[in-house]
Amino acid sequence: MSTAATGRKLNEQEKKKFDFGGWTIVYLTLALFVFLSLTRSTFLNFNNIHSIVFDVSVDFFAIIGFTFLIIMGELDMSVGSMFCFGGTLMGIFCNTYKMSAGPAIVLAMVIAGIIGLISGYLITKFRLNSMMVTIGVMLAVKGYNWMMITRMTGRQLPRESRSFVMNKIGNISWVILLMLVVAVILEILLNKSRYFKQMYYVGHNMETTILYGIKANRVKMICFAVSAMLSTFGGALMTCRVKAPNVTVGSNLEVTMITAAVIGGASIFGGRGSMVKSMLGLLFIYTLRNGMTAYRIDSYVQQIILGVILILAIIADIRITAKRA
């Protein structure tokens, strides 16, 4: 789908100046924070902010693999159902097979990794559109989630798993701290490690990387597997928090992911992206949601607003990419 996937070529007049610069997402998020702090008294308190950041940190795991893939110009639409899949599998392993939480999560990740590898293989070997294939995977996994979860109604996950997830170090959840540490480490790796930097190269110009001996297809395949595994992990954490597998976990996560990554500077054309900024993108979206709820904006209106933001972000992406060409 060459024409549809890249959009039509832009003519000279459309290459206007529209570059956000690398720090835009930081400014935007800060501005939002300041605005909400000033206008809503309920915003600037520890519990509220902690809750926002906690939600971000759980979803963050799903955006790790997503960011890797978007840097390489691929889209993984199955992150949402993989997220829920983590909870589903945990439910099965803990309830039916009486496994404890830890091994259950690990096993779930392995299974997810295999699914990711298969998608990655098909996409790279047959040069398929990653969005369509992962939508198929999303459908299948979503169906599976629904199927299994309806059979598990009423059964909760082991109590220790919830308390484990909700553990805090000092006053802050360990999940948040983990996110911060992982985000920083990955950011450093993306800048300094050859294994991570090559993702930018592949996203920039896959043919060039192949010319110089980089195994572009293998890198992509591995990232599809990683994306599936980490989404599953994040979903497992979230499920522990809500005590039992639930079909709403991870719903519509794909749209959140794309929006967060793109306003965080990634481009759907590949070659750009940053882990820390994807995280900030998520923070922006969740803060916005929190703020909109504080303003008593209907949740469906919120959905419309987020959809519009996605479209605007993509338009900006096109402008920025055209300007560079």
Binding site: S193, R194, N205, T208, T209, L211, Y212, G213, I214
Partner: protein, 511 residues
């Protein structure tokens, strides 16, 4: 009509430059009404650019074009078509999912009461197919199933049924065999008899001699001369004008330095692919520069890419230092210290929007990173700086992105990336395409230098002087086959061009 217009299509002082590269400089000549006018020249002579301008696909920097007294005001394809100019491009613009009839009459709807009358469409198409001798093609047939020759003919028919004043044909026989090319010649002669004005671009001297009324020769973006195709015109006249320049240009290599008896570092055996490459062999010796020359459509690009595993082959093996490569992929080549310099840096070979250091690091990621995979930026900077100095690349800083550099400097960055892993064999494809003279010099000097140090170099190029300067031997390709080999002691442009355009035995392609 007041007799034939001798200045029917007038080209006046056309100049066009792409950055520093002067594609056309002050080109002026005219084409007579009802003649077959050939434009002849090597790759890079400016023919394509000129016809693109005539066709409205490019705008000239200065100069005018006028057709039948009317000057061209805007340069767009629709304007050109409205004026009555049609072109059959070298890269066919066909619709393989549509029928032959629909390809011939895409916008002519044969409407009968608001709907397309297929009977009429097929009838008219059948008439045209018959007129042009395409007996085995049916109007309802899908275009995808037609041979390349047939597709080419059909695209020509599409142009002709639009009743243009001028038709431009860009290398129309490049995919055709002798018989098919023959038929095309007959059709063109018939069209001329019917009054059509035809601009013909081709390398094939025998064809040119057969059908042209006049031949305009271009060289290095400039107009050279227009020759009348009467009895006194010979192929040598054409070749001499094509290559011109320094008729006594010899190789700068000393025949005694020719290194033919050193070890074979790279060997190609029986490399072939149906319809793309006939079985080809070659051997590269240590420290040797092997040149491979061919005009457009001769198969050089396919050979170079198949050699490196960038495209699939049907058969053949590659041996690096005597060892057969069991899987032909670029990664395996890089591991064996064979590097490839791509011919089109805009498509592949560079990361245009990433720093120069990242570009250089691509094939040496292992070399510049430690066991954990962390890139040693100091080491990378050192290597990059080394090559920047060697090539005298004008860089504001190491993190400059190649997109901001001139063509010559971009090419040098690409070379740096290729040479950073200190390869033993380098396959170089059009190393100096589209760059200024100064950068050209530097790259040539460097290639000679590394050859002296023992690196084997294969140079694919369409520029004869370049090859003659660099190579110890030159192989020539035509029609997807290697047709000859010349030692440096016997280099003359005429010999090489003759091989490429005509063939040693005098049998040209086409007719």
């Amino acid at each position: 009509m007041s007799g034939k217009n001798t200045e029917y299509l007038k080209i006046n002082n056309i100049t066009k430059a792409y950055g520093v590269v002067k594609a056309l400089t002050d080109v002026s000549f005219s084409i007579r009404q009802g003649e077959i006018h050939t434009i002849l020249g090597e790759n890079g002579a400016g023919k394509s650019t000129l016809v693109k301008i005539i066709m409205g696909e490019e705008t000239p920097d200065s100069g005018t074009i006028s057709l039948d007294g009317e000057q061209v005001k805007t340069f767009t394809p629709s304007a050109a078509q409205a004026m009555g100019v049609r072109m059959v491009h070298q890269e066919l613009a066909v619709f393989e999912n549509m029928t032959v009839a629909e390809n011939i009459y895409p916008s002519h709807d044969f409407k009968k009461g608001g709907r397309i009358d297929y009977k009429e469409l097929y009838k008219e198409t059948a008439k045209q197919l018959e007129r042009f001798g395409l007996k085995t093609v049916r109007p309802e047939e899908q275009m995808g199933g037609v041979t390349l020759a047939g597709q080419q003919m059909i695209e020509i028919i599409r142009c002709i049924v639009a009743n243009p004043k001028v038709i431009i044909l860009d290398e129309p026989t490049s995919g055709l065999n002798d018989e098919e090319a023959d038929r095309l010649m007959e059709i063109l002669e018939r069209l001329k008899a019917e009054g059509m004005t035809i601009i013909y671009i081709s390398h094939r001297l025998k064809e040119i001699m057969r059908i042209s009324d006049r031949v305009t020769i271009m060289r290095d973006g400039q107009y050279v001369t227009t020759l009348q195709n009467d009895d006194s015109l010979t192929e040598s006249d054409l070749i001499n004008n094509m290559v011109g320049r320094d008729l006594t240009l010899h190789s700068i290599k000393n025949p005694q330095d020719v290194i033919n008896n050193k070890e074979v570092v790279f060997e190609v055996k029986n490399l072939a692919k149906a319809h793309a490459l006939n079985p080809s062999d070659l051997q590269l010796h240590k420290g040797e520069i092997l040149g491979i020359f061919g005009l457009e459509g001769s198969g050089v690009t396919k050979l170079s890419r198949m050699m490196y595993g960038l495209e699939r082959k049907d058969s053949g093996d590659i041996y690096v230092k005597g060892e057969k490569l069991n899987k032909l992929t670029p990664k395996n080549m890089v591991d064996k210290h064979v590097m490839y310099l791509n011919n089109n840096r805009k498509v592949a070979g560079l990361l245009l929007d990433m720093p120069v250091t990242d570009n250089v690091s691509l094939p040496i990621l292992g070399k510049v990173s430690n066991k954990l995979g962390f890139i040693n930026s100091k080491e990378l900077k050192r290597i990059s700086t080394e090559y920047i100095k060697k090539f005298a690349i004008a860089l504001p800083s190491l993190s400059t992105k190649p997109r901001k550099l001139s063509g010559g400097n971009q090419q040098k960055v690409m070379m740096s990336a290729c040479l950073a892993p200190e390869p033993e064999v380098v396959i170089v494809n059009e190393p100096t395409r589209g760059i200024d003279v100064g950068a050209k010099e530097e790259i040539h000097k460097f290639l000679l230098e590394i050859a002296k140090k023992g690196v084997g170099v294969i140079v694919f190029s369409s520029e004869l002087p370049e090859l003659m300067r660099l190579s110890d031997r030159i192989k020539i390709m035509r029609d997807n086959t290697i047709v000859g080999e010349v030692e440096c002691s016997e280099f003359t442009e005429q010999t090489l061009m003759r091989y490429a355009a005509v063939g040693a035995s005098g049998k040209g392609a086409g007719v």
